[in-house]
């Protein structure tokens, strides 16, 4: 059943966004107005708009979801994303502002005036923007179902349509103000969620403020008779058994209802633990926990503390706690968190997904290792390093971030707006740790999609906060997608059609071309957002960072710091960066899983390509530049500092 308040708040925020677009439409008649907001945005507004651009669906939904399911490992994304701003501020902010006009390609090509650079840099912008667009659109679909009751694809189409309207009416000006409002709202309401979370404190039986009774999963004693499991409660009958990767699941029947239980051997003997499950029959019909799936029979939301600092039951309830105490209690070695995992197998003609729980000590929750295999094989550790390197180097190479340097009047304003961005984004990322852990311990995790953890945590405090957080998250997607589409449309209209092909004859024509490009890119984003449903959005953004860091960063850095860099070196480096990073991703275990193949068969063992593709791109630019000479035009091109 759809509630009225979330719909009203959602519609109000969308209406506000569209009003802003129509209001600024008059200011976007020239290409400067359309692509760079006339270069007149105040650095303070631009700084928060930077935060609005950057705090995407991945930051908000994906990171909170990862922290909710994998603890501190999810927070590593926050750290990496924020650290990337140091590269942006200290290395690229001012030079890029000085060299460019509308797009990242402008700056890269400023020293060389090379057609090849224009072409490949524009293609790179398009590729990175599309890689980044996918998770944003997936996030839109994720939000729309609980908020408005529409299916995933409706959310994706809705975002696509609104964003195309925003971009096509007022370009970068409306995008900037949408980002500013959204960034402010996101930070303010995230603070509200964290405050009420600390005031509620921690408990071992979270009931969402009394709205949803705490579900206590059953445990049955059992005996093992020569491999056959016999429950001590005779009302349960064993009707099946399955061994999956060292785990044993037993199918029990009671009152005509069959459910899967996880068998565990401990000091007190064999026990059977209740799980949650989805079973898909051959004819497509779906069963949840032994009964047909319906709006009344869904998987229960989960996640709770079993023990808080050595205390269990009623006496474990903490009451209001300070923020440090909140983290310390969850991370206490004597605390126990009930986390949920999944196992998939085939049972006769049905496909079964079992969600089973495990207790994890607090000290393991609050350090790396639950998702990233930092204690695994050398290859798994290299994979982790690869991700952290890509996050660090990717920010300063994201086209939709780079073009925001052209919306302010001066290099000093570019610098100041970056600092505002670091402050706002850094503060928000601290909040993600609280929101993620809050979701982990508040019984609000959706087992089929952890991206909804933050909005569902907000719902545990009432409908208003849920409606606000969901609507802001939706606006978050709108803002980020707008920025990405502006970057992509600039690459098509300004870089390719105007500066590369020379087919744009007037300023008006360039604006029109940009609007048409925005429509086409928006349409492609809609298709991809529907196809990639269900994949964790933060993971997808991590990959976009790897492509950006491989394709764009080496050329930016070498152009600024190595005098012998040539146009051919830059061109080759971008091509190698794109091809190697995307190639490695397509051959990775993660993609093999998406293809429905065995991940162990993937020819590339790394999930994150950055550690190979970034150095490869740097080596390419050095080798090709040394092998090629700077031509006369390059020799006389303007130096970086002027």
């Amino acid at each position: 059943m759809i509630e009225i308040l979330p719909v009203v708040i959602f519609v109000s925020i969308v209406a506000l966004v569209l009003l802003i677009s129509f209001y600024f439409a008059a200011k976007a008649k020239s290409s400067s107005g359309y692509y760079a907001a006339g270069g007149r945005i105040h650095w303070g507004i631009n700084g928060i708009a930077f935060a609005g651009d950057y705090l995407s669906a991945a930051s908000f939904l994906g990171i909170c979801g990862l922290i909710a399911t994998a603890g501190y490992d999810g927070f590593l994304y926050s750290i990496g994303y924020l650290a990337g701003w140091i590269v942006a501020l200290f290395i690229v902010a001012e030079p890029l502002k000085r060299l460019g006009r509308y797009t990242f390609t402008d700056a890269l090509d400023a020293k060389f005036n090379s057609k090849a650079i224009k072409l490949v840099a524009a293609i790179s912008t398009l590729v990175v923007s599309l890689c980044y667009l996918i998770p944003q659109m997936v996030g839109a679909g994720v939000l729309i179902t609980p908020l408005l009751g529409f299916p995933h694809y409706v959310g994706v189409i809705l975002v696509g349509a609104i964003v195309i309207t925003i971009v096509a009416t007022a370009g970068m000006t409306s995008t900037t103000y949408v980002q500013f409002i959204k960034g402010t709202l996101l930070i303010v309401f995230s603070i509200v969620v964290v405050v009420v979370l600390c005031l509620r404190g921690l408990t071992t039986t979270p009931d969402q403020g009394g709205a949803v009774p705490f579900k206590d999963f059953k445990t049955l004693a059992a005996a093992d008779a020569s491999g056959a499991v016999i429950p001590s409660d005779p009302s349960y009958k064993v009707v099946g058994q399955k061994d999956v990767k060292k785990l044993r699941f037993v199918k029990l029947e009671k009152d005509g209802r069959a459910t899967w239980w996880k068998a565990e051997s401990g000091a007190s003997g064999l026990s059977l633990h209740e799980t949650q499950e989805t079973v898909t029959a051959k004819d497509g019909s779906k069963y949840i926990n032994g009964a047909p799936a319906s709006s009344a029979n869904k998987l229960a939301l989960v996640g709770n503390l079993e023990v808080i600092a050595g205390k269990a039951g009623v006496e474990a309830r903490t009451g209001p706690v300070g923020p440090f105490k909140f983290l310390a209690l969850i991370g206490d070695p004597t605390s126990q968190v009930r986390r949920w995992k999944e196992a998939k197998f085939v049972d006769g003609s049905t496909k079964v997904t079992v969600y089973y729980s495990e207790l994890t000590p607090g000290n393991r929750i609050m350090r790396p290792g639950l998702s990233f295999k930092v204690e695994g094989t050398p290859l798994e550790r290299i994979d982790f390093i690869s991700l952290m390197v890509a996050l660090f180097l990717g920010t300063a190479a994201l086209p939709h971030i780079l073009i925001r340097y052209y919306t302010v009047p001066s290099p000093a304003a570019a610098r100041k707006s970056t600092i505002v961005a670091i402050a706002a984004i850094g503060f928000f990322y601290v909040l993600t740790l609280f929101m993620g852990l809050g979701a982990m311990t508040s019984g609000v995790i959706n087992l089929t999609d952890n991206n909804m953890s933050a909005p569902l945590l907000a719902r545990s405090f009432g409908t208003f906060l849920f409606a606000m957080i969901s609507a802001i998250a939706f606006a978050t997607v709108l803002g980020t997608v707008s920025g990405l589409i502006i970057a992509a449309s600039g690459a098509v209209a300004h870089d390719l059609m105007d500066r590369f092909a020379g087919i744009i004859k007037s300023d008006k024509e360039k604006v029109r071309a940009g609007k048409v490009a925005a429509f086409v890119v928006g349409f492609i984003a809609i298709i991809l957002g529907i196809l990639f449903k269900g994949v964790n959005v933060s993971f997808l953004v991590g990959l976009a960072f790897a492509v950006a860091a491989s394709a764009n960063l080496p050329s930016i850095v070498m152009m600024l710091f190595w005098k012998r860099t040539t146009s051919k070196g830059i061109t080759a480096s971008i091509i190698v960066g794109i091809v190697s990073s995307i190639g490695l991703i397509l051959l990775s275990p993660t993609m093999f899983e998406l293809y429905g193949l065995d991940p162990a068969l993937a020819p590339v063992p790394l999930k994150n390509p950055g550690i190979i593709s970034i150095p490869l791109s740097f080596l390419t630019i050095i080798a090709v530049s040394l092998l090629t000479k700077r031509d006369m035009a390059e020799e006389h091109a303007r130096p970086v500092q002027s």
């Binding site: 501190y72 590593l76 140091i86 000085r98 440090f324 000290n363 982790f384 610098r415 670091i422 500092q641």
Partner: protein, 93 residues
């Protein structure tokens, strides 16, 4: 909020200073960040060590990386601004 008028950026006499300072500060931060990754892959158990107010090294280091980024950014901006004003005054004189 009042918006400044867009300006055509001329030559920047403080460019070399800002570039050098940027590289130095980037290197310092990169070392701190690399040390964080190194601890995670070499001895992740160390991250469990309680450091401050019941918080472990993982949380303190993580928050620290965010805070240090902001402090360094403010220092960089202040230093660049000072140098710009100084060179501008020298240029006028």
């Amino acid at each position: 909020m009042l918006h400044e008028v867009a300006i055509d950026t001329g030559p920047d006499p403080a460019f070399v200073f800002k570039k050098k300072l940027g590289v130095i500060m980037f290197t310092i931060y990169a070392v701190i960040y690399a040390a964080f990754i190194a601890i995670n892959v070499i001895k992740p158990v160390l991250m469990e060590t309680a450091i401050f107010a019941g918080l472990n090294l993982a949380v303190v280091y993580g928050f620290g990386l965010i805070l240090v980024a902001l402090v360094m950014a403010l220092f960089y901006s202040t230093a660049c601004g000072k140098r710009e004003r100084l060179l501008e005054a020298q240029g006028k004189a």
